[in-house]
C-alpha cells in the first residue's frame, strides 16, 4: 500500500512539473508587451509611457548585427522611454516566419520587408500600420526610391538601405588570369570566363539551392532585352507575355552552356555558411558572383581574410548585344521596416526615422550592408567597390525592382521556383518561367 501511494505522489509531481514547464516555455522571442502609449499626442517626438518594441530583422551575422545593437543603444539613450528588443533571424527563416506572425495575434512591432508587391500582399492582413501621418514631415528627403514603400498612396514602411545587383569580382584572381579590366558585354564576359578556367579558377559562383540568386541572372537578361515600359507593364499585369522574355531565356541558356559556374552549383546555398556562393567568393575559391551590394557584408563573416573589402571590385551587368533595354539599367530594391498595428506610435515611426538619420545611415553603410536610403550619406560608403555600385545606381536611367518583390508574393515566388527549376535543366524557350507567374493558386 505504501509503495503505490509513493508512486502516485511521484506521478502527480511529474505531471505537474511537465505541465508547468510546457506552459512556461510558451514565451519565446516575440513579446507583445507594449504598455499604454500616449495615443493622442501625435506631435511629440517621444512617448510619455514606457514602451518596448520588438524588432524583427535579418541581420543575424556580423558586422551588421553589431551595428544594429549599437544603434539600439544610441536610440535608447536618446529616447529613455523606448526599449527596442532586437530579434535577428536568418534570411530564409525570416521570410517564412513573417506570414504566420502577421496572421497571429501578436505580430512583432517592427519587421523587415522589401516594399512594392510584397508589401501590398502583407497590407491585406490588416496588421501593417499606415504611418503616413507620422512620416510625411521627413519622408520626402529620402527621394524617389522610397516610394516603393507606398501602397495605394499611403506609407506602410520606410526604407533604411537601397540595393543594386551587380557583379562582385576578386581583383587578385582577375590579375592571376590576366584580365586587365572587367567585361562590358556578355561576349567579353564569356571570354573572361575562359581565361579564368584556363588559370584553374572557377569563374562565377551562384547559390542555386536558394533559388533567388538564379532569378537575378534571368531577370538581368530580361532587363537587358526588354524596354523599361515592357518591364513595368509586365509587373503590374502579372504577365510575362512579351517576346523579349523568351529572348532572355535564350540568352541565359547560351550563357549557361559555356559552363561558367562552380561544380555542383545546384546544391550550393547563397549565404551563411563557408561553402555558400558568397563564402566561396570570400575565400578566393571563385572569381565572380552576381549579387546584391550586401555581398561584402555577407562574405566578411565567412572568411578570416581581413582584407576582403579591398580585394573586391564591382562592375555592372554587361550589355547584351541587340537588347532593347538600356545597358545602364539596374536591378535592385532595398530593405525597409514596417510598423504593425500593435506597435506603439509614435515610438515606432520615431525609430524608423532614426534609422534614416545621417548618423545611423553612416554606421549602416559602413558595415557594407547596402547603399544608403538617405542620399546625404552616400559619401560614407567605406567598402571601395560599394562606391562604384552606388554610382551606377544613381546614374541608372531606371531601377527595375527584383521581380519577386515587384510582383505579388505568390506569383513572385512561383517565378523564383520556376527559374531555379530551369537552372537544373536549361533550355532556350523558358516557357516554364513565363507561365509560372500564373502557377498553382
Amino acid at each position: 500500500m505504501r509503495s503505490s501511494r509513493a508512486l502516485a505522489v511521484v506521478a502527480l509531481a511529474v505531471t505537474t512539473a511537465t505541465a508547468a514547464a510546457a506552459c512556461s516555455s510558451g514565451s519565446s522571442s516575440s513579446s507583445p508587451s507594449t504598455s499604454t502609449s500616449a495615443s493622442g499626442s501625435s506631435s511629440s517626438a517621444s512617448t510619455t509611457a514606457k514602451v518596448t518594441l520588438t524588432w524583427w530583422n535579418n541581420a543575424n551575422t556580423q558586422p551588421l548585427l553589431g551595428v544594429f545593437n549599437n544603434l539600439i543603444k544610441q536610440f535608447e539613450a536618446a529616447n529613455p522611454n523606448i526599449t527596442i528588443q532586437n530579434v535577428p533571424l536568418q534570411n530564409e527563416l525570416f521570410k517564412t516566419k513573417i506570414t504566420p506572425a502577421l496572421r497571429g495575434n501578436s505580430p512583432p512591432d517592427i519587421y523587415q520587408q522589401w516594399g512594392s508587391g510584397q508589401q501590398a500582399t502583407q497590407v491585406q492582413s490588416g496588421k501593417v500600420a499606415d504611418i503616413s501621418s507620422q512620416v510625411s514631415p521627413w519622408i520626402s528627403s529620402l527621394g524617389t526610391p522610397a516610394t516603393e514603400w507606398q501602397t495605394n498612396g499611403k506609407w506602410y514602411g520606410v526604407p533604411y538601405d537601397l540595393h543594386v545587383v551587380g557583379f562582385w569580382y576578386r581583383k587578385d584572381l582577375f590579375a592571376k588570369a590576366g584580365i586587365t579590366s572587367p567585361p562590358t558585354t556578355i561576349p567579353q564576359l564569356v571570354s573572361d570566363d575562359a581565361k579564368l578556367r584556363a588559370a584553374g579558377i572557377t569563374p562565377i559562383t551562384v547559390g542555386s539551392k536558394d533559388g533567388w540568386p538564379d532569378a537575378f541572372w534571368w531577370e538581368y537578361f530580361a532587363v537587358r532585352e526588354c524596354s523599361q515600359s515592357t518591364i513595368t507593364q509586365a509587373m503590374s499585369s502579372v504577365k510575362l507575355n512579351a517576346p523579349c522574355f523568351t529572348k532572355a531565356s535564350a540568352d541565359l541558356n547560351a550563357f549557361v552552356k559555356t559552363n561558367p559556374f562552380e561544380t555542383g552549383f545546384l546544391g550550393v546555398p547563397a549565404q551563411s555558411v563557408p561553402n555558400s556562393s558568397v563564402g566561396l567568393l570570400a575565400n578566393g575559391k571563385a572569381a565572380m558572383e552576381l549579387q546584391g551590394d550586401w555581398d561584402p557584408a555577407a562574405g566578411a563573416g565567412l572568411t578570416s581574410d581581413k582584407n576582403l573589402n579591398n580585394q573586391l571590385g564591382w562592375f555592372p551587368f554587361p550589355a547584351v548585344p541587340g537588347g532593347a533595354g538600356s545597358p545602364k539599367a539596374v536591378l535592385g530594391g532595398g530593405d525597409g521596416y514596417s510598423c504593425t498595428t500593435s506597435a506603439a506610435e509614435p515610438a515606432c515611426a520615431t525609430f524608423l526615422q532614426f534609422l534614416t538619420s545621417a548618423a545611423a545611415q553612416k554606421q549602416i553603410v559602413g558595415a557594407g550592408a547596402g547603399l544608403p536610403a538617405n542620399p546625404a550619406a552616400a559619401s560614407d560608403l567605406t567598402v571601395p567597390a560599394e562606391q562604384d555600385a552606388s554610382a551606377a545606381n544613381s546614374a541608372a536611367p531606371y531601377i527595375a525592382e527584383y521581380f519577386d518583390i515587384a510582383l505579388p508574393t505568390t506569383p513572385g515566388q512561383n517565378l523564383d521556383n520556376a527559374v531555379a527549376k530551369w537552372f537544373a535543366s536549361p533550355e532556350p524557350t523558358g516557357s516554364g518561367i513565363i507561365s509560372s507567374v500564373s502557377g498553382p493558386a
Binding site: 500582399t121 491585406q124 542555386s208 539551392k209 545546384l266 546544391g267 505568390t410 535543366s425 493558386a441
Partner: protein, 312 residues
C-alpha cells in the same frame, strides 16, 4: 433477504458510476487534446482548402475542389508523390532486412555488445536538423565522403551527391537510413527478447540448422514486431520532411521533393495557404487510407482480443 438484494443493486450502481468517473477523468484530457489539436485542425483545414486564400486577408474566394484539381495536374506534385512512394518502398525493402540482420547479430552474446548497440542507436538520438547539416557538409563536392571514396579506390563512383538531380533523392534516402536504422534495430531487439530461448534450443536439438532456426522459429515469432515496425516506417516515410528540407529543400528543382516539402514550399514560402492545406489534406488521406487498410488486414491478428472483445 430483501435487505441484501437492495444493498447489492446499490453497490453495482456505485461501481458503475465509479468506473464511468474513472474513464472520464483518465480519458478526458487526452480526448480533449486529441479533438482540439488533431481532429479540429483536420476539419478546419479541409474547410480552408476549399478557398483561394493567401493567408493574410479574409476567406472570400470559394473555389471548391479547384485546389485539388490543380494539385493533381501539377507535374511537380505528382513527382513529389512518386518520390514519397519510392522512399517508402525503399525503406521497407532496404531498412527492413538491414535492421533485422543487425538486430539478429546484436542479439547474440559477444564482447562489446553493449558498445555496439550504443553505436548503432546513436544516430537516432541526434536531432534531424543536426544530421542534415552534418551530412550536407560531408557530402559537398570534394568533401569528406568524396575523399574517403577516392582513397578507397572508388573515385569513379563519386557523384555530385546533392546537386545531381538523378542522385539526390537516393542521397536523401541514405541519410534517412543512417538516422532511422537504429530505431528499427532497437524495436526488433526488443521483439527478439520476447522470444523464449528454449524454443530455439529445442529446434537446434531437433536438428535444425541456424538458418532454419532463424527462418522457421525466430522470424514467425518476431512477425508482430515486424508488422508494427512496418506500420511506423510507412507512416513516417509518407510524412518525411525535416532531413530532406534541410539538406536540399526538395531540390534541385524538385528532384528530391516529398509531399511534405512540396506542401511547405507552396503553402508557406509561396504563401498559397489554401493550396498548401489541400496538399496536407491529400497527405492525410494517404496516411489514413493506409492505416485503415493495414490495421484491417495486417494488424488484425495482433489486435484481436484487444479490440474484438469488450473490455471486461
Amino acid at each position: 433477504m430483501p435487505g441484501a438484494v437492495r444493498r447489492g443493486a446499490r453497490d453495482r450502481r456505485r461501481r458503475k458510476l465509479r468506473k464511468g468517473a474513472e474513464l472520464t477523468i483518465l480519458l478526458g484530457p487526452g480526448l480533449v487534446l486529441f479533438l482540439g489539436f488533431v481532429l479540429a485542425p483536420i476539419v478546419v483545414g479541409a474547410y480552408y482548402s476549399l478557398y483561394n486564400w493567401d493567408g493574410l486577408g479574409p476567406l472570400t474566394d470559394f473555389t471548391g475542389l479547384h485546389n485539388y484539381k490543380i494539385a493533381f495536374n501539377d507535374p511537380a506534385f505528382v513527382q513529389a508523390i512518386e518520390h514519397t512512394l519510392i522512399l517508402t518502398g525503399l525503406a521497407l525493402v532496404i531498412q527492413g532486412p538491414l535492421s533485422l540482420g543487425i538486430a539478429l547479430l546484436l542479439n547474440r552474446k559477444f564482447r562489446g555488445r553493449a558498445l555496439m548497440r550504443l553505436v548503432v542507436f546513436a544516430p537516432y538520438v541526434l536531432p534531424p536538423a543536426v544530421t542534415a547539416v552534418m551530412w550536407s557538409l560531408i557530402l559537398q563536392p570534394g568533401g569528406f565522403v568524396d575523399q574517403v571514396m577516392k582513397s578507397a579506390g572508388l573515385g569513379g563512383l563519386v557523384q555530385l551527391w546533392l546537386a545531381n538531380v538523378h542522385v539526390v533523392l537516393y542521397t536523401n534516402f541514405a541519410v534517412l537510413t543512417w538516422q532511422y536504422l537504429g530505431f528499427g534495430i532497437v524495436l526488433l531487439l526488443a521483439g527478439l527478447q520476447g522470444i523464449p530461448v528454449e524454443l530455439r534450443e529445442a529446434a537446434a536439438i531437433d536438428g535444425a540448422t541456424p538458418w532454419q532456426v532463424t527462418w522457421r522459429v525466430t522470424l514467425p515469432l518476431l512477425a508482430p514486431t515486424l508488422r508494427i515496425w512496418g506500420f511506423i516506417t510507412v507512416i513516417g516515410s509518407l510524412q518525411v520532411f525535416d532531413i530532406i528540407w534541410l539538406m536540399t529543400q526538395g531540390g534541385p528543382a524538385g528532384a528530391s521533393d516529398s509531399m511534405a516539402t512540396y506542401m511547405y514550399r507552396t503553402g508557406f514560402q509561396n504563401q498559397a495557404f489554401s493550396y498548401g492545406t489541400a496538399i496536407a489534406i491529400i497527405m492525410f488521406i494517404f496516411c489514413f487510407a493506409f492505416s485503415l487498410i493495414y490495421q484491417r488486414y495486417a494488424l488484425r491478428r495482433d489486435t484481436a482480443g484487444a479490440l474484438t472483445r469488450a473490455v471486461a
